[in-house]
């Protein structure tokens, strides 16, 4: 079974893919990229990649991710300093220790899952 850290990274990758699909389907964003010359024809390929990636995530965790995503739009959010960038609440100092940064923790205020892009 993949480690917690690997599961968190799969969630991060899934969130990145969901962001990409959402932007490709957003007309304003897509129009800007197409005006620059970028073709955006492979959305179905992205959906297939998403399905495959989702299947590699443990079912309860994926369910939790999907539930947060459906409710709040973004399920995994970066932490900058001590602030959840989902709801801008300050997170408890007990969450910010180095050993906690590879664990799957949720914001007590908004429920989104934390990710530290700057490492430990």
């Amino acid at each position: 079974m993949p480690s917690l850290n690997e599961q968190l990274l799969l969630l991060v990758a899934l969130q990145d893919l969901d962001t990409m699909i959402r932007e490709a389907e957003d007309k304003v964003h897509a129009d800007k990229l197409q005006a620059m010359g970028f073709p955006l024809e492979g959305v179905d390929d992205l959906r297939r990649a998403r399905k495959e990636l989702a299947e590699s995530i443990e079912r309860p965790l994926l369910t939790r991710y999907e539930r947060i995503l459906g409710r709040l739009g973004r399920a995994v959010v970066p932490i900058t300093g001590d602030v959840c960038l989902g709801c801008f609440a300050i997170i408890p100092t007990s969450y910010t220790s180095a050993e906690n940064r590879d664990r799957i923790l949720q914001c007590e205020n908004c429920g989104r899952i934390f990710y530290w892009p700057r490492g430990t």
Partner: protein
Amino acid sequence: MPESRAKAARGRVEEGGESMNHQELITLFSEELFIADLKARDRDGALQEMVDHAAKAGIIRDRDVILGMLKNRESLGSTGLGLGVAFPHGRSLAIPSLMALFARSPKGVDYGAIDGKPVQLFFMFIAPPVEKENRYLPALGQVVEMIRDEQTRQRLLEIKSFPEFRSLILGED
């Protein structure tokens, strides 16, 4: 310096109501993310080499996440826009702030570009999902516009250092 390039360097490019001038643009690049001699010869190898370079510079935490994102982005449609230039780009949680990397491949990379030709110039932009200053698309648009100039592309193939790259972007040479 040709007047057309000088004019472009002074001017601002509008991208959907957002704009960025060359002074702002150059602040996104850095010497540590300047690759004068990319070794890889195929698309995945080139992406990996650029991401590894950024990871070694300490810009990226989880390089596999970034690499996966960039490969997925290519399956949406090639970022090799032709004329020997590619713009691998996308958003990822695994980056704390907007990152810009320039790489040059003297021998060329088989990148699956729109025109089928090898790519020698790479401008990589990776942005976080939430970016307060909203510089990602304006920066990308500015470079896409700049690179349409043949002399600019030719100079980018000739420069040897980041200071030369900086001068070129600023229209100083």
